[in-house]
Amino acid sequence: MDFQIALFLAQDGITGGAIYALLALALVLVFSVTRVIFIPQGEFVAFGALTMATLQAGQTPATVWLLLGASAVAAVIELWRQGRRGSLATTGWRDAAKLLLYPAAVVALTLALPLADLPNIVRVALTLAIVVPLAPLMYRLAFQPIAEAPVLVLLIVAVAVHVALVGMGLVFFGAEGTRTEAFSDASIAIGPLDISGQQIWVVAASAALILALWRFFSATLYGKALRATAVNRNGARLMGFSPVFAGKLTFLLAGLIGTLSGVLIAPITTIYYDTGFLIGLKGFVAAIIGGLGSFPLAAAGALLVGLLESFASFWASAYKEVIVFTLIIPVLLWRSLTSHHVEEE
C-alpha cells in the first residue's frame, strides 16, 4: 500500500466515520433518556435515503402513507384511551384530530407539489417532514406503553419494531437499491487527493449537526431537561418535565439524525431497503466503544470504526464485516472487566 492509497482510504473512512458518529450520538441520546437500545435507527437512514430517491424520481413515496397510517393508529388509541376515561366528548375527538392534522397536511403537500421539478433542497426538507415524525410516533405506539419495563424487554421490542420496518421497507421501495443525485458535483483536488463535493457535505453537515446538538444540550432549557431526565427520570418528572415528552423529543432528534444521515450518504453509497441495519449497527459499535454514555468517546469510536472498515476493505474485503463486528467484543470485554462484583440485572 502506498501513501496515496492510504490517504484515499482514510478519506473514505472519515466520511463513513462522520455518519457513524452521528448515529452513535443518536443511540447514546436515546439510550440515556429512555433506556431503549434504538435498533430501528438504521431504518430511518434507509427510509430517508429511499424517500429522497423516490422524490427525485418524481413519485409519491409510500412513507407518507405510513406516516398517515401510524398517526391514524395513534389517534384510534387516543380515542379508546379517552373513551375509557370518559373524556371522549370533552377532549377525546379534539386530541385525536390534532394527531391527524400534521400527517394530513404532509400528504396534501406531497400530492400537490410538482415533485419532479423541485429543487433538491426542497426535496430534502420534504423528506425530513415525512420521515422524521415517524420516530415520535414509534415512541408513542411501541415504547410509551411499556416505558418502565426492563431494558431487555425494551430491547426485544426495539428489535421487533426494526423487523417490522424492514418488512415495510421492502413493500414500499422494492428490493432494488438506489443512489440519489449528489448535492453538488464540485470536487476539490488537494495534492494527490480528489475530494468530492458530497464527501465535504457529509463531513461538514455531520460536524454542524454535532455542534448544534452540543449547543442544544448545554445551552437550551429543553436540552438541559433531557440531560436531567437521563440522569434521573423521577427527579425530572418531579420538576415538571414529563418523561413522555422527553421520550418523544429524544426520538424526534434521533429520527432527524437518522434521516439526515440517510439523505447525506445516499449519493455516495447504494442504499437498499435493508442497508440501514448494518449502517446502524456500526453506529452501535461506535456507541458501545463509548459505553453508551459518553458523546465524545462515541464520536471517537465512530471514527475508528469508519477507518477500520475502509482499511479492512482494502486488505481483506471479504472479511470486512467480520473484522468490524468482532472489534466490538474486546471493547465490550474491557468495559465489563472494569466493573466487577456480581450485579443484579
Binding site: P145, V151, I156, F284, H341
Partner: protein, 599 residues
C-alpha cells in the same frame, strides 16, 4: 364435575398424537412439523438461556450453522485433512464432532461475552452472530454463498431416513428428549441455581452458587441444542447455504421463545409452532394481498411481538395451559435420609473477627477502623442509627463487598477479598435486609437453594434423573428447616405470596439449610408481629444453645435487649460502644447517638 386428566394421561395422548401424525397427515404438513421440531429445539435452548436464565441471545442461528456446516463438510468433502479423516462420511460421527466444535466455540464466545452485564450481552450476541454468518458466506471450504450440496441422509442400522416422514421420527425424538432433559434439569439442584440467575445472583452467590458457571452451563446447553437442530436440518435439506444462519433468523428464534412463553419448556414448542405455521400461512396469503413477492410476514411478526410484549409478557403457553383440563397433583415432601452435618465448633471459640475494617466509597468513609468478634454459642447484636454503616459492615463480613483496608478472619482464616460463595462454603450464611428470594419458586425450593453446597450432582445426572437420592435428601432437609422456623403450612406456596415478615423467616430457614456455624441476620424481626417475634427469639436462643454463632443487625431494641449476649454500637462508621445490653443502654455516647445530645 368437569372431566380432568392427570399430567401423565395428557402426556401419553400428546406422544400418541406425535407418533401417529406422519401416518395420517399429508406430506406438506409432515414437512411443516419437521420444521416446527427443528425450530422448537433451538427455541428450547433460548427458553433456558433467556426465559429462565435472563441472558438474551440473538445469535443462536450461528450455532445452528456450526452444527449444519460441520456435518455438511465432513459428509461431503472428498479429501479431508489426515487428522480429520476418521470422522468423514458418517453423519453420526459428524454429529459428535459438531457438538464438540459447538461446545468449544460456545465456551470461547461465552467466556468472552458472558461476563458482559445487562444489555451489553445481547449486543455482543448480535456482533458474534453477524461475524459467524459472514464467515459461513466467505470461507472457501464452506462453499461461499452457494453453500454445499449432496449431503447424504442419516442412516440408522442401515435404514436411510431420506424421506420427510422418516426423518420426522428422528427430529421429534431429539426434541422430546431435549424437552424431557430440560424439564428434569430445571427441577433439580442445578436447575435451582440456574433459576436463581434471573434476579437472584447476589443471593445465589451468598448461598454458594457459582453464578458464572451456571451462566456458562446454560449458554453451552442452548448452543448444543441449536447445533443438534442444525445437524438434523442439514440432513433433511441435503444441502446448506448461509441464509438460514443469519442474524434475522436468530431474531426469529428469539421471537419463538418469547411468543410461546420464554419461561416455559412447552412454550418453545408452542412458539415454534405458532411462528412456523403463521409464517407459512402469511407467505401464501400476504403476497396475494400486496400483489407482489416479498417477506411481508415479518411485518406481522414484528407487530405481533410488540403486542405480546405489551399485553401478555408471559407468552401464549400461559393461555394454552389454561385450556388443558389438568388435575392438580398432590405434592409431598420426599422422605429421605438426613444430610451429613459439619461438626460444630467448640462453644466460646472465636468464629468471626474483624480487624480495623475500613471501607471508603470515594470520599465517604462508611466503616472506619471497625473491630468486632463473634464467638460460638453467642448472639452479638450490631446496632446503630440509620446510616451508621451496619449494612456495609455486613456486606464485607459476608464477602459481598471488600474492605478498603483491614482484614476479616473466619474461624482463624483470612477471608478478606474472598468471593461470598467461597465464604459460604466455610460455614457462614446470611439473610438480607431487603429480602432476596425468588418469588415465583415455592418456599421449599427457595430454602433448598440454601442447601446447594450440601449436594454435588451436576448437570448430566440432573438431566437424566440419576440424582434423585441426593435431591430427595436436599428437599427433605429444606422441609426440616421450614418446619423448624414454623412455615410448614406454606411449604408449597409461592415465596412471593408470603407476607414480608414470613419472607424474612424464610431467609433464615434458607440460611440454616446450609448447615452454618455462623448466621448473619440483617433485621430479621422487621415486619414481624409480636407472637412471631417471640417465636423468632425462641428459635435464635435454641440455635445458640446448639453452639451456633449469630450476628444480627436490628432496630427493634426490645427484641435485641432481651435476647442477645453482647451489643456493638456503631455511629458514623465507627464503634462507639461495646458490652452487655444493660451497660450499653446506660452508655452516655450511645444515648447521645440515639436521642441527640443532652445540653
Amino acid at each position: 364435575m368437569a372431566l380432568r386428566f392427570t399430567p401423565l394421561q395428557v402426556l401419553v395422548a400428546f406422544l400418541a398424537a406425535t407418533a401417529l401424525a406422519p401416518l395420517v397427515l399429508p406430506e406438506f404438513y409432515v414437512t411443516l412439523l419437521n420444521y416446527i421440531g427443528l425450530y422448537a429445539m433451538v427455541a428450547l435452548g433460548l427458553v433456558l438461556l433467556t426465559g429462565i436464565g435472563g441472558l438474551t441471545s440473538f445469535g443462536q442461528a450461528a450455532f445452528v450453522g456450526i452444527g449444519a456446516y460441520t456435518t455438511a463438510v465432513l459428509t461431503t468433502a472428498e479429501a479431508l485433512p489426515a487428522w480429520l479423516a476418521w470422522a468423514g462420511g458418517s453423519p453420526w460421527l459428524a454429529l459428535a464432532v459438531g457438538l464438540v466444535i459447538t461446545a468449544l466455540v460456545a465456551l470461547l464466545v461465552g467466556s468472552l461475552t458472558l461476563r458482559l452485564s445487562g444489555h451489553y450481552l445481547p449486543l455482543g450476541t448480535i456482533a458474534w452472530g453477524i461475524s459467524l454468518y459472514f464467515l459461513f458466506g466467505t470461507m472457501e471450504t464452506l462453499g461461499g454463498h452457494t453453500g454445499l450440496t449432496g449431503i447424504p441422509p442419516i442412516a440408522i442400522f442401515g435404514w436411510e431416513l431420506d424421506e420427510g416422514r422418516e426423518i420426522y421420527y428422528l427430529i421429534w425424538a431429539f426434541l422430546l428428549c431435549a424437552m424431557f432433559t430440560t424439564r428434569n434439569l430445571l427441577d433439580s439442584r442445578e436447575g435451582r441455581a440456574i433459576r436463581a440467575l434471573n434476579g437472584g445472583m447476589v443471593m445465589g452467590e451468598a448461598m454458594g452458587i457459582n453464578t458464572s458457571r451456571s451462566r456458562m452451563v446454560i449458554f453451552v446447553i442452548a448452543a448444543l441444542h441449536a447445533a443438534a437442530s442444525g445437524w438434523l436440518y442439514a440432513h433433511m435439506q441435503r444441502f446448506v447455504n448461509p441464509t438460514p444462519f443469519g442474524l434475522h433468523i436468530g431474531i426469529e428464534y428469539l421471537f419463538m421463545a418469547v411468543v410461546g412463553g420464554a419461561g416455559q419448556v412447552w412454550g418453545a414448542l408452542v412458539g415454534a409452532g405458532v411462528i412456523t405455521v403463521m409464517k407459512q400461512w402469511l407467505q401464501d396469503w400476504l403476497p396475494r394481498f400486496f400483489g407482489a413477492a416479498g417477506n411481508f410476514e415479518v411485518i406481522v411478526f414484528g407487530v405481533m411481538m410488540v403486542l405480546i410484549l405489551h399485553r401478555a409478557r408471559e407468552g401464549l403457553w400461559a393461555l394454552v395451559a389454561r385450556l388443558v383440563p389438568l388435575r392438580r397433583a398432590e405434592r409431598q415432601v420426599p422422605v429421605a435420609d438426613a444430610l451429613e452435618r459439619k461438626a460444630m465448633p467448640d462453644r466460646g471459640e472465636v468464629i468471626l473477627e474483624a480487624r480495623d475494617v475500613t471501607r471508603r466509597f470515594g470520599g465517604l468513609v462508611a466503616n472506619d477502623g471497625m473491630n468486632l468478634e463473634v464467638r460460638a454459642g453467642e448472639i452479638l447484636a450490631l446496632i446503630g442509627p440509620n446510616g451508621a454503616g451496619k449494612s456495609t459492615m455486613f456486606n464485607q463480613l459476608s464477602g459481598v463487598d471488600t474492605p478498603t483496608s483491614g482484614e476479616i478472619l473466619f474461624r482463624g482464616r483470612k477471608v478478606t477479598g474472598m468471593a461470598s460463595r467461597e465464604i459460604a462454603r466455610l460455614g457462614m450464611s446470611r439473610s438480607f435486609q431487603h429480602v432476596k428470594l425468588l418469588p415465583a419458586m415455592t418456599v421449599l425450593e427457595n430454602v433448598a437453594i440454601g442447601a446447594h453446597l450440601r449436594g454435588g450432582k451436576g448437570v448430566l445426572p440432573s438431566a437424566w434423573r440419576l440424582e434423585r437420592d441426593e435431591e430427595n435428601r436436599l428437599l427433605a432437609e429444606a422441609a426440616r428447616q421450614i418446619e423448624r422456623v414454623g412455615l410448614a403450612a406454606h411449604t408449597f406456596d409461592e415465596a412471593g405470596s408470603l407476607a414480608l415478615g414470613q419472607q424474612r423467616i424464610l431467609e433464615i430457614a434458607r440460611g440454616l439449610a446450609s448447615d452454618p456455624c455462623l448466621l448473619l441476620l440483617d433485621e430479621p424481626a422487621a415486619g414481624l408481629r409480636l407472637k412471631e417475634k417471640q417465636a423468632l427469639g425462641d428459635l435464635l436462643k435454641k440455635l445458640r444453645g446448639e453452639g451456633m454463632a449469630i450476628l444480627l443487625v436490628e432496630h427493634d431494641m426490645d427484641f435485641v435487649m432481651g435476647l442477645v449476649d453482647r451489643v456493638v454500637v456503631m455511629e458514623f462508621g465507627r464503634k462507639i460502644a461495646e458490652g452487655l445490653p444493660d451497660e450499653v443502654q446506660r452508655n452516655p455516647a450511645v444515648l447521645e447517638a440515639y436521642l441527640g445530645g443532652a445540653e
